[in-house]
């Protein structure tokens, strides 16, 4: 059964090729047949593999399928090989299943678009790259997938390329993540140089053998990999691309910029967790980045008027939670939140897509309202996802996954109380911005009439994801709520158990109570400001300080402004000043020399046969002279 793993990326890549080559000639019916069908097949294979993994796990709880060796030069021997363990099986399962639902949704959502087949070609290529990233057994293959998903992200953000703003957003995403990728490549070079392999399991083994805890190489390599993860997962300080990435079609935002690609950084850190445990300072940096990001992005989300940008900041903030969990060594908690987040955030985006479509592409939430009655099914599914995101206690998946992270942040040996406090504040913010969104969009009076209602293919994925957003949490519950820990047990097949530190007067139930309290406060504030006293919300931004703060958060803490001045403009300035520097002259001089030589040798091509014969004769004479006299 496990040897079928190669099919998971193979189906989408085959479908990508078909769509890319014959796309324009296929009928409107055939395109989704390939585009959605291939992902369905991949999902089926992943489900089968997961089932097999649970019923009869392979020896050692991992399985490697070596397809072929790419090159074999001087000890550098990267293989095209797939590695299955609990981590990759779980993530592949989530990616293909959620991916399938989003593809199904897109089949209707993108129906009227002229780039229908192009869209599915890109989306399929994305799923193939993402699975390669997750399944690759060496960092080079992982990097191939990593760049592949980056490329697809670029292509899909700029999908509606006729609007230059979309192209700019796509370029921004590509360039900002490139900063992280550069760090990551340097990390790969460092690892290969010092440990002589890129095969992940070998590499981890070698690192354990050669590097002591806290060794500078381990710290440097871990920090460089963290750089790559930060770029891809839109964490501080490279988070600025994700809100602009919302320029892409909404299913893209759901699949790439919420559920899957942006969690690649989480996967990378979890995959190389041994390296991070060898570098405690780097691991602490992960936790700090996560905590800072979740708070900052939460504030930014509070002020956005654009429904997709709110969700984008929310994604940044939630991935911050995952980073926080990774940073404190709560590996399985991070993955748990990854899974539930994939469910509810994908659903939120799909719901946002339904709303935007039915309101003539309106993005501003303040021009929406009263949609509860107009789009009841969209409302209920959106509400389920929103509650899960905000962490409605006891019944939603988000509550369990987030609660676990927050408790682990306190109880882990690497955790700290400050981080715990930040995480709880994050819950308050999440609940506030989520219910602000829900109250403004679905309650109050109708502002824009609904002109189009979603069909079955769009609503079925929403309902399924809504169910998952609720029940997904019961895979792992705290001891006082049933004490199920099947998810954690499963993850421990691949990832180490968190080391607990002194709890210091806190218990899990108390921690969960704080979370609940934060949730309720956020909910109440949202209710107060956006249902009861709408005018108060405006009053808050009326005074100068309120206005300034609002503006500051709206512009994402002025990050873009800062980067524009610190990096972009100086570089453009230097480029302009240095337009005609000395070094260029060397290259243009070589080009000129080449052209000069061309003009010289061209004279020999006269077209006259006697000249040609003379050339042959002269050549022979010279060669005879050489052999005779040298």
């Amino acid at each position: 059964m496990f040897h079928l793993v190669w099919l998971i990326p193979a189906f989408p890549i085959a479908s990508f090729l078909v769509l890319a080559i014959f796309g324009t000639r296929l009928s409107k019916k055939a395109v989704p047949l390939f585009g959605v069908g291939s992902i369905a097949l991949s999902a089926v294979v992943s489900i089968l593999i997961m089932f097999r993994f649970l019923t009869s796990p392979p020896p050692g709880n991992h399985y490697t399928q070596i397809l072929w060796t790419w090159v074999d030069v001087g000890g550098f021997k990267p293989q095209i090989a797939f590695y299955l363990d609990a981590l990759s099986v779980l993530m592949t399962l989530v990616v293909t299943c959620v991916g399938f639902l989003i593809h199904l949704y897109s089949a209707e959502f993108m129906q009227e678009d002229e780039g229908y087949s192009r869209f599915f070609a890109y989306m399929n290529l994305f799923v193939a790259s993402m699975c390669t990233l997750l399944l690759g057994n060496n960092l080079l293959l992982l990097f191939l997938g990593w760049e592949g998903v980056g490329l697809c992200s670029y292509l899909l953000i700029g999908f509606w390329y006729r609007d230059p703003a979309n192209g700019l957003a796509a370029r921004k995403a590509f360039i900002v993540t490139r900063v992280g990728d550069t760090a990551m490549t340097m990390g790969l070079f460092l690892l290969f140089d010092k440990l002589g392999t890129l095969q992940i399991q070998d590499l981890m083994h070698q690192a354990l053998l050669h590097w002591a805890v806290g060794s500078p190489y381990a710290v440097a390599a871990a920090l460089l990999l963290l750089g790559g993860a930060v770029g891809k997962s839109a964490q501080l300080p490279l988070q600025t691309w994700l809100p602009d990435a919302m320029a892409g079609p909404t299913p893209t935002s759901a699949l790439i910029h919420a559920a899957t690609m942006v969690t690649a950084g989480v996967y990378l850190i979890a995959r190389t967790h041994i390296l991070f445990s060898l570098a405690p300072s780097a691991q602490f940096a992960v936790a700090v980045v996560g905590a800072a990001t979740l708070i900052l992005a939460g504030f930014s989300a509070l002020t956005q008027p654009d429904i997709k940008r709110i969700l984008a900041y929310s994604t940044i903030s939630q991935i911050g939670y995952m980073f926080l969990a990774l940073g404190v060594g709560a590996w399985s908690a991070a993955l748990f939140h990854f899974m539930t987040h994939a469910f509810f955030k994908a659903l939120l985006f799909l719901g946002a897509g339904v709303i935007i479509e039915s309101l003539h592409h309106e993005h501003n939430i303040f021009k929406m309202g009263g949609l509860r009655k107009e789009l009841p099914l969209a409302f209920w599914t959106f509400l389920a996802a929103g509650c899960s995101l905000a962490g409605l206690p006891l019944i939603t998946a988000g509550f369990y996954s987030k609660g676990l992270i927050i408790w682990d942040t306190w109880s882990s040996a690497q955790g700290s109380h400050v981080l715990w406090f930040a995480a709880v504040i994050g819950v308050l913010l999440t609940s506030l911005y989520t219910f602000r969104l829900i109250f403004v969009v679905f309650f109050g009076e109708v502002k824009t009439p609904v002109h189009k209602r979603p069909g079955l293919r769009m609503m079925v994925p929403c309902v399924i994801l809504a169910v998952l957003s609720v029940v997904g949490g019961f895979l792992d519950t705290p001891p006082f709520l049933g004490g199920v820990h099947s998810f954690t047990d499963f993850m421990h097949l691949a990832l180490p158990v968190m080391t607990e530190g002194p709890a210091g007067g806190m218990t899990e139930i108390l921690s969960e109570s704080f979370v609940t309290l934060a949730f309720l406060v956020g909910l109440y504030l949202a209710y107060f400001f956006y249902v009861q006293k709408r005018e108060y919300a405006e009053k808050l931004t009326a005074p100068a300080i309120g206005k300034a703060l609002h503006q500051f958060w709206l512009s994402d803490w002025g990050m873009d402004w800062l980067y524009e001045r610190v990096f972009v403009r100086p570089i453009i300035w230097i480029a302009r000043v240095d337009k005609q520097d000395f070094v260029d002259n060397i290259y243009s001089g070589m080009a000129l020399l080449t052209e000069f030589c061309y003009r010289g040798v061209r004279k020999t091509e006269t077209g006259r046969i006697r000249w040609y014969a003379a050339g042959i004769a002269a050549g022979s004479i010279i060669f005879v002279a050489i052999v005779l006299f040298l």
């Binding site: 020999t604 050549g619 052999v627």
Partner: protein, 477 residues
Amino acid sequence: MLPLLIVTAAAVVVMLAISIKRSHLLAVWLTLVGLAAAFFSLWIVAPLTPIQVTPLLIVDGYALFYMGLILAATFVTVILAYGYLENQSGYREELYVLILVAALGSVVLVASSHFVSFFLGLEVLSVALYAMSAYLCARKPPLEAGLKYLVLAAASAAFLLFGMALVYAQLGTMQFGQIAAMLSGGACYSKALLLPGIALIITGIGFKLAVVPFHMWTPDVYEGAPAPVTAFIATVSKGAMVALLLRYFYETGMQHLGSVFLVFSIIAIASMIAGNLLALFQNNVKRILAYSSIAHLGYVLVAFLAGGTRAAEAVTFYLVAYFITTLGAFGVVSVLSNGERDADVLDDYRGLFWRRPVLAGIFTLMLLSLAGIPLTAGFVGKFFLVAAGASSALWGLIFTLIVTSVIGLFYYLRILVALYAPPAETGEAAPAGGLPALSRGGSYVLAALSVLLVWVGVYPAPILDAVQRAVSTLRLF
């Protein structure tokens, strides 16, 4: 011997068939069947090798590999020629007889182990090529090409013969194996006569390979000859000569002589530089390909000079890649040509992508392979050349190879830019009723070549194995 006999028989049968009934399709089918039969007979012959057939010919794994390559390339040429000639008026069938005869000459060359068979094969090949170049004698450029080729080839053959005579006069034998024995055995001979002999032989070989300074005919002949014939000259004729070059010099050990090594180094460096420079601002695609083939033979010589099994493998592998690529490139030229003239000016390709995206894609692949971009056969081939050169520490030659490759990239990219340029608005309007249909056989062949190109580029192991087995039968000195 079986493959040679089949090719000969095929030529005779096609000729007889033409005299009985003129039918273009019949002639093509007979030719193709003959070539396919000869190709598959290689497997029948394989278990019996190596055998020495008279002192003239040796049929070993090496010869069989090259025969396969030549027969396959001829097969492709015939299909291209069919599509090309369908658009032409006048007698068409005789070209296939000529192609078969030329293939026979090449097959003899790769199996020759004696000066006599060397010269015999060369002349059979050349005489057929003169007629093939000038085949469309109603047009001026082919006639000019044929004549130029005839005069210069005859002259260079005289040099070759004289060189052979000098070597024979000194060593008293014309068999490669015995020459090797004499050279190493320290038999008494006068270097003052032997070495000029070798130099004159190099002239003859250099002419056929079109390397500097014997290259000047190439662009004129390439430009003038009909596109499928050009493809044949660029691949089969040169490939057979390289096969012979390897066998002759490696089996006799002549390339170890310091001055011979020097001569070949000069030729290689001059070819790489001149070939790439001359192509830079050319506007004629056939001439660009001609100059690029000069440069490519220069690259081949780099590995040839390295010596040893590794080098022979690299050269052979490179030739396989070169065959695929060159046939593909000239194939595109050939299917785009019409009854009046060949599509050889750069302007014919401007905006091709917007008219014929698939064909433009194939041409792109071929050009990228010629430039040696990864994932194509050309890259793998060049990699082995450089590896072979590096293992013998020929740094100067490798340096030239790399620098000139960069220059080469320029003119390949120039064609690519033209391919993807926006279609000219002011040009003649698109012909009514869409574009003329392309020859179907030609299209299939091009598609197959593209697949092969990428396959060899991504997964070269099977070809590499075959090359290694073939080269292992070469008796290196």
